[in-house]
């Protein structure tokens, strides 16, 4: 996704399409497998969304299931409490993640960058990356073993006649728990991009700033952050695209205890009603609309980025 800004060479623009194709044939050949993969595994399955307009029965298949027009979409507008609950929870979690999860790797990258010892930096980085490679099942089980009602923490408290803490399975703390888990698992990994961007900032800028009498904070504000701005905006836009995806696996693994009131999000709604309860059409309709909203958000955010003179995800 990351790429250097495209340079517009007028000559290239004017060259005939055929000539350009011939000229770039080797490069194009290299691109073929990638394009085939994307078409086969990303675009072709999109056609399956047609089940959103059917009373889909998997054993009858797409062709033999009855057509139901827009009936499946009624749930989006008829005030169905289960859907509204899923929508609200999704939006709340999206907001929480935008506020707490998104900036975390930026802060961590700045912190790591300020470490002088390369050795300590390396070690810290490696340790911080590790949780990213654990699956959610493991992460959830780890939290459970540590903080659960009969987990390590509470066992110690109990052994010392102290009051136990109700953390896992507590619906009041569920959002906090989810957010903390995401931060614990993925912050280290997400710093990679920011560290890379930090390393591209010209050190002469820092030298010039310090000659001008800027302290560390002013350097951060006037040199480091502006240097990161492009990457931050790019990642933020990409994040917006799946902002309604707030962690399906993580939530479904913990849903039973905390209940659907706080934990049902659009993705679990689709799963619980589609795969588990067999209402495939309705589930697909909700999933489809969710996808469309994601696309709209990316386009809108990119537009805003352009208005403010940023590169965005793609340029016009």
């Amino acid at each position: 996704m990351l790429r250097a800004p495209t340079r517009r060479t007028p000559g290239r623009q004017r060259a005939g399409l055929l000539r350009r194709l011939v000229r770039d044939r080797v490069l194009l050949l290299f691109a073929v497998p990638g394009i085939a993969l994307i078409l086969g595994f990303q675009y072709l399955p999109l056609l399956g969304n047609v089940i959103a307009f059917e009373d889909f029965q998997p054993f009858l298949g797409i062709r033999d299931s009855a057509w139901s027009g827009l009936a499946n979409f009624a749930v989006l507008v008829n005030g169905d409490p289960a859907f509204l609950r899923a929508l609200t929870n999704t939006l709340v979690l999206t907001l929480l993640q935008a506020v707490f999860v998104f900036p975390a790797p930026i802060l961590l990258a700045l912190l790591l960058n300020s470490l002088f010892s390369e050795r300590i930096k390396r070690i810290a980085q490696s340790i911080l990356y590790l949780p990213h490679f654990m699956s959610w099942v493991i992460v959830v089980a780890l939290f459970q073993q540590m903080l659960g009602g009969s987990g390590l923490l509470n066992n110690v408290l109990r052994a010392h006649n102290l009051a136990t803490l109700d953390i896992i399975g507590n619906s009041d703390l569920f959002r906090v728990l989810l957010t903390s888990q995401v931060i614990w698992k993925d912050t280290g990994w997400a710093t990679i991009l920011f560290l890379a961007a930090l390393s591209t900032i010209d050190s002469q800028l820092y030298e010039a700033a310090s000659v001008d009498g800027a302290g560390r904070w002013r350097q951060l504000w006037h040199v480091t952050l502006p240097g990161l701005r492009g990457v931050i905006i790019l990642l933020f836009i990409l994040r917006l695209g799946d902002s309604l995806t707030v962690g399906f696996e993580q939530i479904i693994l913990q849903q039973q205890a905390v209940g659907r009131d706080v934990s049902e999000v659009l993705d679990t709604y689709v799963y619980n009603n589609g795969v588990v309860a067999g209402q495939w059409g309705v589930a697909a309709a909700v999933g489809l609309v969710k996808g469309l909203v994601g696309v709209a958000l990316v386009l809108a955010a990119n537009k805003v980025a352009h208005i403010f003179g940023e590169e965005g995800v793609y340029s016009r």
Binding site: P58, F59, S65, A66, G169, V275
Partner: protein, 547 residues
């Protein structure tokens, strides 16, 4: 005329905002076509017209503890000279695929599993089995169906959404092979009581073979006799909920990492209060277990149990296999489960020789006697996929082999495996080895099965205790009156709606929702399909009564 499911009412819609308003208008403007499923009215009559397989009891061995129409037969020793009842290999040489749940640990694959290899050899067809844990099976099954990837033999949970339509589209109608006296060709299928076949009738035909459970699936509190004895409690018999709660408190010991319960026993408290077993029918009118007023009392009582700390605090996050480990490992003393689980606990016992299990009876909530629920008649039905490259006769012969009852040599092999490796003979009793328990757990019992026999190799006490509690509860059993009756709405929506109610129940007993919120949940259950189910069940019941 096909019945039409109720159309979504758009009139009381609330708009989410400008962006969706346009969509809403389009929705109202569009013709709402609904699916024409299998036809409700005709189906119920057609199902009743099916002649069920004629029951012909297999004259096997005489039990030590006699069976009744409810109580299962008990055996103290395995019969000395098990008869080999089937001489021919049922298979046709080609591989037979099977999809199933398994209750225990994942066994070694066929290549490293001598038991599995021996099964293949004796069947005359290699079995390829794909397995999922009990908890995950319905989801695995749904995804497999969605992928259009059905094996030859399919273990289908009775709660499957749109089951009749699924069977009609994908599976063989077995009526002409099994109806009436035709079943006599498969003597061990004929040995399955008629009651169980009722659950295999769909679309006016027999669409599968039953995996019978009934009494063996009746679930009441199982408890660790050895752990209670260590506390000086022998043969506990609480006479009311209050006494029961006291018992729980007495055995509860969180400081030593031990809780009374693996999970909140809400359904046990419901049985104390005489709440219906799923659906109750009185004078042709059906009542759901959820809507009875006494639920409020049951939920309040269970909430008090959770508040008193007698339930493992991780009960709500844990899955069934974790709870089983707690019970085996002494982290919990009570578990609400069945006679099948009782045996399984012995099989996976890690607590040594002292380990012993027994079951509590149900007292009335404030004294007297409670109403135990008869277990669900079927674990599953096994249907034969139309896509299978085997003749129906071959697949029925395999099912027949799997249903050979206790006392036969086939049963001994199926359940216990090979002498020496999987069990050691003590007298005539095949006592399972650790290897035996793991390697034999490949889910054969879910292809087809005989009625369970109460028996545990080398521990005649187990069968005696099981038989005793069955005799105690038998006269008071409440049955699910909806069993064998057809309701289109139930097949479409029951899974979804009951999951919502279970979620509310979980929140209530954890004290996170007021008990009174149950009423609203039930109201929406009834309006979203419950009332419709009631009507359809009443109609199916009336049809049945007319015959």
């Amino acid at each position: 005329m096909p019945s039409m499911p109720p159309m979504q009412r758009i009139s009381r819609r609330t708009f989410l905002g400008g962006g969706l308003t346009a969509a809403a208008v389009t929705v109202t403007g569009a013709p709402l076509l609904t699916a024409c499923g299998s036809s409700g009215a005709d189906t119920s009559a057609a199902n009743l017209a099916v002649t069920l397989p004629t029951y012909k009891r297999y004259a096997g061995v005489a039990p030590d503890l006699p069976a009744t129409d409810r109580v299962l037969a008990g055996f103290l020793r395995y019969p000395a000279h098990p008869v080999r009842a089937i001489s021919e290999k049922p298979g046709d040489g080609k591989p037979i695929s099977f999809l199933t749940n398994i209750p225990g640990a994942i066994p070694p694959a066929a290549g490293r599993n001598p038991f599995w290899q021996a099964v293949n050899e004796r069947l005359g067809s290699p079995l390829t089995i794909s397995m999922a844990s009990n908890d995950d099976y319905p989801k695995k099954f749904a995804t497999q169906v969605a992928g259009g990837d059905l094996p030859d033999l399919v273990n289908i949970p009775p709660t499957t959404v749109e089951l009749p339509a699924l069977l009609k589209a994908k599976c063989h109608d077995l009526t002409r092979y099994l109806s009436g006296d035709a079943v006599a060709k498969y003597p061990f299928l004929a040995n399955i009581p008629t009651e169980y076949w009722k659950g295999c009738v769909f679309n006016g035909g027999i669409y599968g073979v039953p995996v019978p459970r009934g009494m063996s699936r009746t679930s009441l509190p199982l408890y660790r006799v050895d752990l209670l004895a260590a506390k000086g409690i022998k043969r506990p018999a609480p006479a009311s909920f209050a006494e029961f709660l006291d018992l729980c408190k007495e055995v509860n010991d969180p400081k030593r990492h031990r809780w009374a319960w693996t999970k909140p026993p809400t359904d046990y408290v419901r049985q104390m209060l005489g709440i219906a077993n799923n659906w109750a029918q009185h004078g042709g009118k059906f009542t759901s277990k959820y809507e009875q007023e006494a639920n409020l009392e049951a939920l309040e009582a269970t909430r008090r149990m959770v508040a008193a700390g007698v339930v493992n605090p991780d009960a709500f996050s844990a899955d069934a296999s974790a709870r089983k480990q707690w019970f085996n490992g002494g982290v919990a003393v009570f578990d609400l489960d069945s006679f099948v689980a009782w045996n399984q606990y012995y099989a996976t016992n890690t607590a040594g020789d002292a380990f012993a299990v027994d079951m509590l009876d149900v007292p009335g909530y404030s004294g007297g006697q409670g109403k135990p629920w008869m277990g669900a008649a079927l674990n599953n039905i096994t249907a034969f996929a139309k896509s299978a490259k085997h003749s129906v006769e071959t697949m029925l012969a395999v099912a027949n082999w799997m249903a050979a009852p206790f006392g036969t040599e086939e049963y001994l092999f199926r359940k216990y495996g090979l002498a020496g490796r999987h069990y050691t003979l003590e007298g005539t009793d095949p006592v399972p080895t650790k290897t035996g328990v793991v390697e034999t757990g490949i889910g054969l019992q879910y292809v087809c099965d005989a009625d369970m026999a109460l028996y545990w190799a080398g521990k005649p006490d187990v069968a005696k205790r099981q038989h005793a509690i069955q005799q105690t509860i038998a006269p008071r059993l409440l049955f699910d009156d909806s069993y064998g009756l057809y309701s289109e709405t139930m097949s479409r929506k029951y899974a979804q709606l009951s999951a919502v109610l279970l979620d509310v129940e979980n929140q209530i007993v954890q004290g996170r929702r007021p008990v009174s919120s149950w009423k609203d949940a039930v109201k929406s259950f009834l309006s979203q399909g419950g009332e419709q189910m009631r009507t359809e069940l009443a109609k199916a019941h009336a049809d049945a009564a007319r015959r």
